[in-house]
């Protein structure tokens, strides 16, 4: 039932609005609304009950193992939420003077410093609201850098075929054309192809390392050399930073600009699709172009730097400078991990991934890159199962839901057929990983003995498998009343 189905004309949650506001008399009638918008009219309890019950229809970290590759679904410490929600932080207007936000600015400044240290970059801006916006900012800085040097011929961005879709999309948003670089059979970037591709038209390359195939590119130094020698810059997509946190730093690998997904590596909430936060870090030569605002320190005082202070900045990405409450959560998380905890993130996420890969291989599942170490994630390909049993990766994924596990990422990266990209993260226990293996084994058994059970999955969720084709063809994107008049007095 939609909240609209609980609606009745004249019903209200009376306590939630001012009781007796004066009528508005001085707005010209021509500018006034003629009929009230058709919003649901429900009691307070109805709203509470409806949304509480809806919430229960979700899988989430707080309820399920959620090994969604490339998304780093780790535990979101509850303290991060409560401490970012302290009244002094929550009530602060974004345009309040810096003097009335020293506590808040101190946290952000220290977060900038910690992110610099852990990535090996020269400077950090917290402004981007998500990874994709961080990518946009990063590529825009590459563009600004070349332009500032009069190097206008660099119109091409190199992107490996395994890259996240956001990489080419961001490059295009910044006016670049995209050239795809193939991945070699061992999972590393094809160096020969790269060497052949670079040239005076090369603005840079966008890389995820470890890559989306779940391996650390062993040739990263050669890649950096090749691109830099051709005059291009290296962009690091931080989606997989969790795998190397405290172990290796993008700055040390030779990257010029990076973004981080704080909702992955720094465990801010995924929130059903966001908000994220995608800070960018840069080497010294790109510093002038960082998006604003930035937090600066002046003695014991902290203040924002804006467009006025940073004339070469690529500019502002949102009206008020970013997802501040998310940044506070990341700060709290980083302080709880501390120096000693950063490396443990990489260690145990890697341990979990390699353990899970080893157990699945032992159980007869095929790893896409069996000769490689897994990073914090790895790929299983079900192409044999699809061929022999007619049960594909999506069927396995849907059936996993019945076993109480969120599915891994499916059909990404595109270059491995029938793939599951599995990322258990460091916060899951060995025994839950073991149970996950048992579930996959059981599903494979079902695929042999009763394939319709798997192909018809899920069976135990609030809905059975949904018709995505119908959704796209017979678009139903918003509730509409049966007849326009019905609810007019609403």
């Amino acid at each position: 039932m939609l909240i609209h189905d609980h609606s009745r004309p004249g019903r209200r949650a009376t306590a939630q609005a001012p009781l007796n506001p004066p009528a508005v008399t001085d707005i010209p009638a021509g500018l006034r609304r003629r009929a009230r918008p058709m919003l649901p009219e429900v009691s307070e309890m109805q709203a509470v009950r409806h949304y509480t019950r809806l919430s229960q229809k979700n899988f989430s970290i707080d309820t399920h193992l959620y090994p969604l590759g490339s998304c780093t679904m780790k535990y979101n410490p509850r303290a991060c939420h409560s401490l970012a929600s302290l009244p002094g932080f929550l009530a602060r207007h974004p345009l309040a003077p810096d003097t009335q936000g020293q506590g808040f600015l101190t946290c952000l400044f220290e977060l900038q410093e910690m992110l610099k240290e852990v990535t090996g970059m020269h400077a950090v801006s917290l402004a981007p609201s998500a990874g994709a916006q961080g990518e946009f900012a990063g590529v825009a800085m590459i563009r600004a850098y070349h332009r500032a040097r009069g190097d206008l011929a660099r119109t091409e961005m190199l992107v490996p075929d395994a890259a996240h879709g956001t990489n080419p999309a961001s490059a295009v948003m910044c006016g670049f054309t995209v050239r795809e670089i193939p991945t070699g059979p061992d999972g590393d970037v094809d160096l020969d192809a790269l060497t052949a591709a670079v040239g005076p038209q090369t603005a840079g390359i966008m890389l995820t390392n470890p890559s989306t195939v779940g391996v650390f590119d062993r040739n990263i130094q050669a890649i950096a050399r090749t691109v830099h020698e051709a005059g291009g810059l290296l962009y690091y997509d931080g989606a997989n930073l969790n795998a190397i946190l405290g172990k290796v730093r993008p700055g040390d690998m030779g990257f010029d600009v990076i973004h981080m997904n704080l909702h992955k590596t720094f465990s801010t909430p995924h929130g059903g699709g966001g908000p994220g936060a995608g800070p960018v870090g840069v080497s010294a030569r790109l510093e002038p172009y960082l998006p604003v605002p930035l937090v600066a320190r002046d003695g014991d005082e902290y203040h924002w730097l804006t467009e006025r202070d940073r004339p070469d900045s690529i500019g502002r990405l949102t009206a008020f400078g970013g997802n501040m409450g998310i940044l506070l959560r990341a700060y709290v998380y980083a302080r709880m991990l501390g120096r000693e905890g950063m490396g443990r993130v990489a260690e145990f996420s890697t341990l979990n991934a390699n353990y899970l890969m080893a157990r699945l291989r032992a159980a007869g599942f095929e790893a896409a890159y069996p000769e490689r170490r897994a990073s914090h994630e790895f790929i299983v390909t079900l192409k044999r199962e699809a061929r022999e049993l007619g049960v594909n990766a999506m069927d396995f994924a849907k059936r996993l839901l019945d076993y109480g596990y969120h599915a891994p990422t499916t059909y990404f990266p595109l270059l491995v057929p029938e793939c599951l990209l599995i990322e258990p993260t460091e916060t899951e226990t060995k025994e839950d990983l073991d149970s996950f293996v048992e579930a996959l084994i059981a599903i494979r058994h079902e695929a042999r003995e009763e394939p319709e059970t798997v192909k018809g999955a899920p069976h135990t969720l609030p809905v059975r498998r949904l018709d995505d084709v119908r959704a796209a063809r017979q678009l139903d994107l918003a509730w509409k009343p049966l007849t326009a008049g019905e609810n007019a007095h609403g």
Binding site: S85, F89, G131, A169, K430, P462, A478
Partner: protein, 458 residues
């Protein structure tokens, strides 16, 4: 090891299964010269108790002044139920609903949010949010340029009476895609954007879209019907930038002029999101049905399951970056799901009538505050036009210093206009939402009068 559950026994058993002797061995493909030692610049770990103490101290340092600033972010009442529910683990710690069957909670919320936003804007479809109002406007512009097949122009008319931060954000995002932003002046008497200025701006040739913000940055109500029809007559699309609380009282973009605006966007912060120093907020973006395939961002749709039962799923994914990569409508991947959840609960609790009460109270309070302040010598309304819940006031002395003095007294007195609009002279933009009381407003007026008395004497 906070948050890591591994016991020594677990580790030993796992390493044995993998067939390595140590965790370190798992990193053996990484060139050893890249491996780092201690992260000296990162402090050692704090317990939850310690970080709680630190954050409490810092939050207290930020105080809780009485807020009369609006300028794009508004201090509204948020029902207690909103965040008690939105922060439930099942909403808070879930991700983008890639597995629709395991995400019906989030998906239905998105669908309901889309339904509510279409009801408010009077348009046909809505996406499931963007980062904020300003970036939503940037996406709306990109979308309009793509969608306008009649002009094929890349010029867009942008009123100077649009929020300065929105104009800056738009510039940063769209100019790299070859879009030209043409500024349109406002009338210094009324504060409105007049047709004459549009004509002047349009001299350079065709344009893809006109942006109309209602109310505009000065709180002033634009003559939206006239502006919309003017743009449509020139084959341009109309993008409305609107405040969702104001829409309880004001004509929705879908009904502007004879054909209605084509796209509407704005900032949803007023719908249940704390000020929180600027974010996280959520932008909304709605359009006419005909442009739906140009709409960027996540969209939830209703469909049927194998048993013919209704359910919800992300749809129109063929527009998106993970399918179309370089050819996508946008690079956007996340939305502001958690904030959308809050906004949806907020709107369900208020309903149209509650929203109207909030809007009316804001309007009345701002009018009252303007009245109280305008009694002070040298203080007067800057513009003559009708306002919604913000009012620009002329001041006898420069605003920034004055606001600092008020801030020291625990009053955030408004937004200083002269840095962005030096031609207006000393001026502030004030806002009194439904939360402000008569006492608070009188207190502000008293203090302002006292401070000005001193300054003008000197």
């Amino acid at each position: 090891m906070p948050f890591i559950p591994h016991t020594p026994d677990d580790i030993a058993a796992m390493l044995a299964t993998i067939g390595v002797g140590s965790i370190d061995a798992l990193f053996d493909e990484i060139p050893s010269e890249l491996r780092i030692g201690e992260l000296a610049a990162i402090p050692t770990a704090l317990s939850e108790m310690e970080i709680a103490r630190l954050m409490q101290t810092r939050a207290r340092a930020d105080g809780q002044p009485v807020c009369f600033i609006g300028a794009g972010a508004y201090d509204h009442h948020i029902p207690a139920a909103v965040w008690q529910i939105a922060a439930r683990g099942e909403f808070y710690s879930a991700y983008t609903p890639y597995q629709a069957e395991a995400s019906q909670g989030t998906l239905q919320v998105l669908y309901e949010f889309q339904s509510m936003m279409t009801a408010l804007t009077g348009l046909d479809v809505s996406n499931a949010s963007l980062y904020d109002g300003a970036s939503a406007l940037a996406e709306a512009i990109l979308m309009a340029v793509r969608a306008n097949r009649q002009t094929r122009s890349t010029r867009v008319l942008v009123p100077r009476a649009l929020h300065p931060a929105y104009r800056r954000t738009v510039r940063a995002i769209v100019e790299s895609q070859g879009i030209e932003l043409v500024e349109v002046s406002f009338d210094p008497q009324s504060g409105q954007t007049p047709v004459a200025q549009l004509e002047a701006a349009a001299i350079g040739g065709e344009f893809a879209a006109l942006i109309i913000n209602q109310p505009n940055f000065f709180g002033v109500l634009e003559d939206v019907d006239v502006l919309t029809d003017w743009a449509h007559a020139r084959k341009a699309l109309v993008i409305g930038v609107v405040n969702p609380i104001a829409l309880a009282l004001l004509s929705p973009p879908g009904e502007w002029g004879s054909k209605g605006a084509d796209i509407a966007c704005g900032e949803a912060q007023s719908l249940g999101m704390p000020l929180s120093s600027g974010g996280p907020y959520a932008g909304f973006l709605c359009c006419k049905q005909e442009f739906v395939r140009q709409l960027p961002g996540r969209i939830a749709g209703r469909t049927l399951d194998l048993d013919g039962k209704p359910g919800f799923t992300l749809t129109l994914q063929a527009r998106e970056q993970h399918i179309r990569r370089g050819k996508a409508t946008s690079n956007i991947c996340t939305n502001q799901g958690l904030l959308v959840t809050a906004a949806t609960i907020h709107l369900a609790l208020l309903g149209a009538e509650g929203l109207e009460r909030v809007a009316s109270a804001c309007h009345a309070n701002t009018r009252r505050l303007a009245e109280l302040l305008s009694v002070i010598p040298g203080v007067a309304p800057l513009f003559g036009g009708s306002v919604f819940h913000e009012q620009a006031l002329r001041l006898p002395v420069p605003a920034p210093d004055l606001l600092d003095a008020l801030a020291a007294d625990g009053i955030l007195g408004g937004f200083a206009l002269e840095p962005d609009y030096p031609d207006l002279g000393p001026a502030i933009l004030i806002c009194a939402t439904e939360l402000r009381t008569e006492d608070e407003m009188r207190d502000y007026a008293d203090r302002l009068a006292r401070i000005l008395a001193t300054r003008i004497e000197c």
